[in-house]
């Protein structure tokens, strides 16, 4: 190489620092872009990039369906339950949050099932064998559990994952939709709201 040997340089000794005005100014100016970037990212944190316009569904007539109940083998239509509030739960046996949510649904079913509220479950991206496995270990699976081959019903209800719960008024409109685990108080409140609307 044509390179010349570099001169060895001395390690510069630490110099005592004085924070003059000018130095502060340099520091502040250098940080402006950083703060602008931070503001932008902070804005980004406030939003959900996967948010889908769920609001469009609310108040609309609930899409009807004809699905087979895996317990009885009978076909169940949503329109069969006109006049009753319906709690429509989408779930899967592989879904961890669904097993967390299940006792809440059972509690609500025991409390409101006899008062006319209808509970329906729709299996999402799962096999009937998987569902049977879920219900085999002494878990309460009393209300109709519907099989939705092809996921058409889930698509109609804009389901993006499980668990999701749709609350349908007695006159067949979508009152509310819960994405992720529905707590017992939430289910209770929604059922009361739907009952209030009827009155």
């Amino acid at each position: 190489m044509t390179d010349a040997q570099p001169e060895p340089r001395q390690e510069s000794q630490p110099v005592p620092q004085r924070w003059t005005d000018r130095r502060w100014r340099v520091v502040v100016i250098s940080l402006v872009p950083v703060l602008l970037l931070a503001a932008l990212l902070g804005f980004g944190l406030g939003r959900n990039p996967r948010a889908t316009p769920q609001a469009q569904l609310i108040g609309k007539p609930a899409p009807d369906f004809a699905l087979k109940d895996m317990h009885t083998g009978k076909t169940v239509h949503l329109s069969d339950f006109r006049g009753h509030p319906v709690v429509l739960n989408f779930w899967a046996s592989w879904c961890v949050d669904c097993s967390v949510e299940h006792p809440n649904l059972v509690g609500a079913w025991q409390r409101f099932g006899n008062e006319g509220t209808v509970f329906l479950s729709v299996l999402y991206q799962d096999t009937p064998a998987g569902a049977a496995g879920f219900c085999s270990k002494g878990v309460v699976c009393e209300w109709p559990d519907l099989y939705d081959p092809g996921g058409r019903t889930a698509l109609n209800y804009g389901v993006t994952g499980v668990p999701e719960t749709v609350f349908i008024t007695p006159d067949g409109r979508i009152a509310a939709k819960q994405i992720s685990v529905a707590s017992y108080p939430l289910i209770e409140r929604r059922i009361h709201q739907m009952a209030g609307e009827r009155a």
Binding site: R9, P14, V26, V27, W94
Partner: protein, 677 residues
Amino acid sequence: MASVIGTFALFLALAVAAYGAVASFVGARSRNALMVESARTTAWSLTALVLIANVTMLVAILANDFSLRYVAENSSRETPTFFKVLALWSADQGSLLLWNLVLSGYLLAVAIRFRRRRPETFPWALGVMYVVSAFYLLLVTVATHPFGTLARAPRDGRGPLPLLQNHPLMAAHPPMLYLGFIGMTVPFAFGMAALFTGRLSDQWIRITRRWTMFAWVCLTAGLFLGSLWSYSVLGWGGYWAWDPVENIALLPWLASTAFLHSVMVQERRGMLKVWNLSLIVATFGLTVFGTFLTRGSILSSVHSFAQSAVGPMYLAFLLIVLCAGFGLIAARSKQLAGESHIDRLVSREGVFLGNNILLAALTFTVLIGTVFPLLNEALTGTKVSVGGPYFDRTAAPVMLLLLFLMGIGPLLPWRVGSARYLLQRLKWPVWAGALTIAGMVVTGVRHWAAVAAFGLAAFVGVATIVEMARGVRAQRRAFGGGVARSAFGAVSRNRRLYGGLVAHLGLVIVIVAITWSSTYASQKEVTLARGASTSFAGYELKYTGAAVRPEPQRTVFVATLQIIKDGRTVGVLIPSLNFYPSSQDPIGTPSISKGTPFNGFHDLYASLQTLAKKGTSATFRMFSNPGVMWLWVGGAVIVLGGIIALWPVRRRPPGAVPDVATTASEEPDRVEAEVTA
């Protein structure tokens, strides 16, 4: 049980890291050697604790302990053992465990490396690394709970995301990237230490040169493995989509590549001090930014993990890193004045400067394109997406300019270059480039971008090879011996230079592959009845039937396409659709017939879109990708170049023959001598 052990180990590790940080800084400030030593040895316990947490998770996954939420969501009984191991990093929380393991591993390596020779900056750098480690431990203890349990353990787990249990490359791509990203912590820590202590010579660069190089090699390998994974798994026929998460892995690579080049200017000429510190802060900042974007649920992308509450913590950490880094640089700006100036623009340092300006511009372009959707939404409230065309249009010209500088840079001397000198040494490269262009034009090629890229590639390739040959000739003149021995001798005397040249050659191959495959690729979507065939890219493809292959964790439908050329069957493509119980949408596995020299390195690629009942007909997407395989050959050559530059230099006994082709600045031994002095 696993939950208790894992959680306890992580909390203990957090406490240990906090202690390490405090002990390092207090010890450094009060010059208390005992305290610094205590901080140094703490790295052992930190690594051990993080290792325990990782092993605990791994054992829980292998033992099907579905009482752990992470195991239930990311593994299942039927998942093959190999993919169970990978489940450790196939979701957010597990990958953070691995992240912590790699980080503490680097910390331990630094603690061991500097056990005897300790530069003044060492305790400060150690402290910075402990702070970074504490932050990432905070994420897995306070913000997320990788060892969270379920009240009722499910019978079986969901299994990893189907896409992530589809290809063995998942074993190599994420860990490699992590080694690259996290490795940048080391030069960052020493750079910050230099700023803390005011020891602002190039010492911090020399100390960390090989650490940076190692991280860069891993990052490079990780990026190329990622593109190979994308090509072999996703079935869309391409390897790079300018997806936000691809971009944010590319950003630290661009910044660190600029850094690897610009530090040489500081080592030789004492210039660009502010720039080098800024680059390393930017590189490290970009790795934090990258993890923030993937995990902080900011942008939507194939890679983004599930929503988690870590976003604000990442943002705070990023803010601290950038404010501390750039703030300190600004505060020290007076001491960071350059020791010399650029004498001539046509010189090695002039080209390095150009290279850095272009790389910085490229980094900025990619960064803007990546955050633009966010920016636009913040300012106008509408959602937009920035796609491939923006990046292709903006990045390609910059890449070509970079390629040109890459060709002439190594040929120029430091300080004193001249246009005439350059032209003299560029005789062969210019001929090669001109002949390539002329040849392409004469044979009727009218893709001007491709003509320019290939011509430039020939120019740079020949320039690089001539430069290598020159070194070998000089070595041979000085010491005699055969060509092979001289080549070996030349390389081992100046690994940094030849490693760089090899890496340049690799990049030339990569650029050729990208231009070749993107200019001449074609695709076709076609539905074929069983027994029917279609002609595509000079071949006839015949659908001969489908078969079902049940596997424990999935059901695989395989369709067979015969590749027929001139009436002879020359190969077969077997794309498949895989059905996983946890997902209704099948995951396709494309099939690739790799190119050979006999068909002009022409990849035939097919993915199965849909399959009619009993396989009576099938819809395929076919891609013809000429030359694409050279992308990974080039990637491997770049990595090889990095490894050559990284390889330790053997200590020579004192009084040995001085080098003909080596410069003192490239000797790590000398660094250590300086450090101990």
